[in-house]
Symmetry: C2
Subunit: 341 residues, 2 copies
Amino acid sequence: MGRNRATLADVARRAGLSKTAASMVLNGREGTRLSAEAHQRVFAAAEELGYRPNLAARSLRTRKTATIAFVSDIVATTRFAGDLIRGALDAARERDHVLLITETQGDATFEQYAIEAVLDRQVDGVIYAAMATRRLTVPAAILGGPVVLLNATSPDGLPSVVPDDEGAGRSVATALLELGHRDTIALIGRNRLKEDDPEVSLAARARLHGIRQTLDEAKVGLLAECFCTEWLPEHGYAAMRSLLSKPKRPSAIICMNDRLAFGAYQALGEAGLTVPEDISVISFDDDPIAAWLRPSLATTALPHEQMGRRAVELLLDGGAAEPSLVPMPLRRRRSLAPPAG
Amino acid sequence: MGRNRATLADVARRAGLSKTAASMVLNGREGTRLSAEAHQRVFAAAEELGYRPNLAARSLRTRKTATIAFVSDIVATTRFAGDLIRGALDAARERDHVLLITETQGDATFEQYAIEAVLDRQVDGVIYAAMATRRLTVPAAILGGPVVLLNATSPDGLPSVVPDDEGAGRSVATALLELGHRDTIALIGRNRLKEDDPEVSLAARARLHGIRQTLDEAKVGLLAECFCTEWLPEHGYAAMRSLLSKPKRPSAIICMNDRLAFGAYQALGEAGLTVPEDISVISFDDDPIAAWLRPSLATTALPHEQMGRRAVELLLDGGAAEPSLVPMPLRRRRSLAPPAG
DNA sequence: ATGCTCTGCTAAATCAGTTTAGCGACCACT
DNA sequence: AGTGGTCGCTAAACTGATTTAGCAGAGCAT
């Protein structure tokens, strides 16, 4: 890779100047007293030789690599990882940086390896990302340099970027209230583990809190709350069926995520009920299936791309110490209607 | 990042030896005549100081960075990117390498930037990945070093890794034939553009060819073929509706991907038909929705993780020049049954 | 003529490793 | 005594950049 690249010495020689001069000119150093003509010659030489600096050599001296480590627990299992990475990639490119990606798979050995691998490469900073919003403790090894937590917070008070799940909860509840739904709203996806253990999830508690707060203010209570051991379609399906077996049918359903909502749709379809005429459905995440469902599913979007971008900005440009909350926009789609009758 | 790291000179000093000796011992060089005792002292010193070599310095001399560039057109828009990356990440870690990720977004300027950024960092090789299997021409700039195409082929005959879509086509057709389906099989997802332009897709043509070949051998013809401008749920929905409006109802449907199949399910549900009792459905990709659908959707899986892994192996360990075909395993699920009646 | 400042530039050190060339001590052999 | 070989190790060059310290010459004042 990159054999026969011209070096700074080549450029200097061709320009008839010293390496020092060439270096200063190419780096646009202020306050040097090199003549305009010297500038010209260096630029011309660099151009003609197609000179590109060897960043390994540069970073040896400057201790800057223009490289950021993106360390995450799991990149593959959720389709959101891509967006997180893409946002970070974009922001990094704008700042002439590049991303070194590693994955820990939640395994301590792998994590150790990942951290060492990036530190050995002298990265300028680390983005430590979690795929589910949660609290975690970062390995001591990376605390030697700049760190930003992405989709996570830590007890150490490190800068962090998380989605505004509580705000999303409020948006969801408000949307239903505005349509006129009152005491016939049911909730699918309560989960003690997710709600009570911040190391498992921060989203569940925050979403629930946002919903409750808004409904309380409107003096509205939930018709029913279904607990689900996981937030997967099959659990949404089961929850919806149990809701439909009860005497009082809800006019609207809030699902804690889109996969639950997908399951709920399946149960509704089997029961011969129509969304949104019979029942409105609203949810969280904006998984691609939300737009593919018939009717399309209203949901609040996890702003992963924004978050990835924000993390890089925080890392390179500096910023607030308190967690940076990224808003979750409400996607109004066809699954919402006023209550029937 | 990484201030106060012990250097090789520190280790050497502590061991009472020269840098040369320390370097040779730590690199496990054969044929050096350093005493066993010297080895001990160096290892002990390195251990005590927590020595880790500075890879920037090393690579300046050796021109090896133990870093691979992963350049792709689009990482985010498809949820498969994560798997491709994860497979590559795993294989890279096993070989003590790390991945530098950049994205071109299909834009020539960004591509130029991405290529320069990675070449400047002296990567040991480049994995050039496409998110849809297709033919492409790689930028001349990266031809200076090892390159492997991932999910793509090129006219230059570069080593490449692609899924065996034709084999998948055969598996799909065979599965239906084995169940007893004959001349009542319909196909959803024909698409001239994808089939005829290898720069758009290689999958469409290969899948179709695999299906046709297998059916021809069994002297079976397709009942109907629906063209779709895109492979999205709404197009699958429309295609399925049009199929159902015809006099002769198919006993099985092959969809060119899972998203089309998802749309087909929706149309079947609305028409009051049951999968697989009334109609079997089988498809390609193994998108997560395939497992979430009710009944779960039989499909052939795009082996993205395997492919990512294979690309790294090819790049670092060398290998075959002809395209490396990765098999697409058939996931037998609930959407298959013998034809009714 | 001397000293001073300013201009325009460069030699050499430095970063942290790897690698080449070779040194001194010891032994064996003729 | 001289020669050659092996053993165990090191000095110094080298990678390609940045950065520090400083030099030669011109212009000007004293």
